[in-house]
Amino acid sequence: MGIKQIYIAPDCNYAAAIHADKWIPILPNTDAALYLAIAYHWFKNGTYDKEYLETHAVGVEQFEDYVMGRTDGQPKSPEWAAPITGVPARVIKALAEEWASKRTTVVIGNGGPGIRGPYSHEPARLQVLCLAMQGLGKPGCNQAKMIEWGLTNDIKQMSQPAPAVLLSLWPAYTGGSVRDTNHPSFLPKTLVPKAILEGKCEWWGCEQEMAPRENQFVHYKYPADGCSQIHMIWTDSPSWVTSWNDGNAFTRAMRHPSIEFIFAQHPWMEDDCLFADIILPVNTKLEEDDINSDLFGGQMNLLFPEYKCTEPLGESKSDYEIVCAIAERLGLLEQYTEGLTIEDRIRLGYEKSGAAHLISWEELNKRGYFIVPVDPDWEKAPAGLIEFYEDPEHHPLSTPTGKLEFYSTGLAEHFPDDDERPPVPHWISWGETHQESLDSPRAKQYPLLVVSNHPRWGVHAQHEDITWLREIETCKMRGPDGYLYQPLWINPVDAAKRGIKHGDIVGIYNERGMVLAAAYVTERIIPGAVSIDHGAKYDPIVLGQIDRGGAINTITPGNTTSRHVCGMVVSGFLAEVEKVDLDKLRAKYPEAFARKFHPAAGPSIEGVLKGGA
């Protein structure tokens, strides 16, 4: 279509490697400094939409004061941002000029630099402010995302052409929901290790992405008043150790004396199941009847009954059947099932899906699937934030003022002195909650920034054992010991400094522990940063300290995003990388290295069962 694409990322990712007209490499978690420098250049040259800001924004003066250095004596110029971001000042200026001179939309995968890093709410807010300075909502000037449009269950967020109806299977769903915030006692996932290890904690907001804005100011604590501490953990398909923050702390929490019993249900013996006292085997999708919808794929919204193609293997049951069996023993079966059989539930799912008037039950089963037709009026739907752009008074945003808040009135009201998330977004290098930047004291010992993306060859912790994928070098790399290691992308400059060659087995480490990986020496990562996908199967050499599988989340920061924000931090953190001597390690930890693993599929049940499988 001839639209220029500029990719700003620490890695020349798979889209950039093919589609980029320009790759601007940037150090992980420094985007806030880049956005500030761009805003500086626009303020300095007057190349921004001043009229738009007068009618669509509040607090611009306070923001300008900070950006131009009137607040703290430090102008946030491109020259200031260059050493922080690794982007030369002249490139920042050229980018700022190009952005201002053309209709520019910012496209992110799902969250881009605004998620999963220390203080990542700052780049998230600053990205919006930059868009605002160029007239956010005017045609061609929006923010777009590339996946998971159905995540928020809002038909306005579906990619175009939008479906005629937004499917929903919630009425038939039997699992718990993060939307249930009326429980007297709950705990954000990010705080589970802390709560168990310290016995108590407090936080603000329920951590749920669809919660109302005001909820982020609500204070919670654990244990909640009149409620118990955690004594037992019941978990299904868990992968906390390799998918959440500070997995090594999680392993300590699971073994804490206050946890009397852990019960897991999962199809495979892996990851968190290693800590469970009882593990019940669960069916895969192939072994059970169900009904499903796909709202994440974009244009094709699907409703499809799923019938088993094989009987359950061994004694495995579905998650639902296991929960029913326990409910029965607790006298809660009728309440839990609402008197419905599984067949009833599947039918109920169809009845309440939103598509029942568009396709009969018989036809749905005959065809096997239903594609929701496109909304016939989809072309009339307002594009992006055009309504706000054209008439901010009648189409206000959901901020307290209805406008774009360069100075957040909500934060000023509730957390006016929070230097980690001030009313005007800042560049937060390091602070009380996180010291993960290259100019923090920890960087002397741990001088590399780790970026960890969702895996290319899996979905979080799933598909780790697919043998065909594991043959691919960017998925796993075989070490001299025959083990397939997680690849770590490292620039030739950083590798040479450390005597590391392509294929060498290395340890990535900080105070939280060490993770082994295979060096994938590549020009596709900015010097000063290394990249390793998350989700590798946990395979401890020393439990809670050294992992062979490459589960990088075992050494990610434990603290949440910032003082008042309970999000996870799993990327943009400090570590060092060094070559390891596998022979020395094997001599030091003979039992761990003697553990059986499948040569193609990796760590397996044989390795963890006493007396073999």
Partner: protein, 226 residues
Amino acid sequence: MERGTFPKVRVTYHHMMCQHCQEAPCIEACPSHAIYRRPDGIVVIDPEKCRGHKMCIAACPYESVIWFNDDLNIAQKCTFCAHLLDQGWTETRCSDACPTGALTFGDEEDPKIRELLARAEPLRPDLPTRPRVLYLNLPKKWIAGAVFDPEADICLEGATVRAANTKTGQIVTAVTDNYGDFWPKDVPEGEYVITIEKEGYLPHKVGPVEVTAADVNVGDIGLWRG
């Protein structure tokens, strides 16, 4: 295949498959005479005649084309979906499946195919194999760099970059964009001297550089006001 050096990096995907050569080294090499060529040009390994010598794998000059099935003890490779074509399919499964239309299968008598063949080239022109898999848009090497003004600390747009082949005299030209980048991507192999000029600045010469084994990145070039 990853190419270039930071930050001028790209990935090109090279599809490697059996080339169904008209002069197939594997046919010659097989001591069991298990490999043969059909009248329609498809080269087939007969699984009943294969005795697992692996001479074909050693003889094939292309990468990762023939592999060995340890369970059946025979060599296996692409068959151009012969069994499907014999059932009436008009193209191979891979050609059918490719979402970007990167694979086109057909008869060389078909005018559409002839048009493509006229523009296509073999992957390894140095080999005498006479393959029946040909390629369009095989990437050539590039010369990349970026021009800037170190005094003003700005990227220089509109600088003319001329890379002259020292043997043939052929000149490859590029004009820098708003990031000062120049990146001509179809540079014939050879040795080049590069001249960079922009009005108001002293011209700058880089090289000679060898554009043969790998793509060339001359890095950031500063121009000084003249």
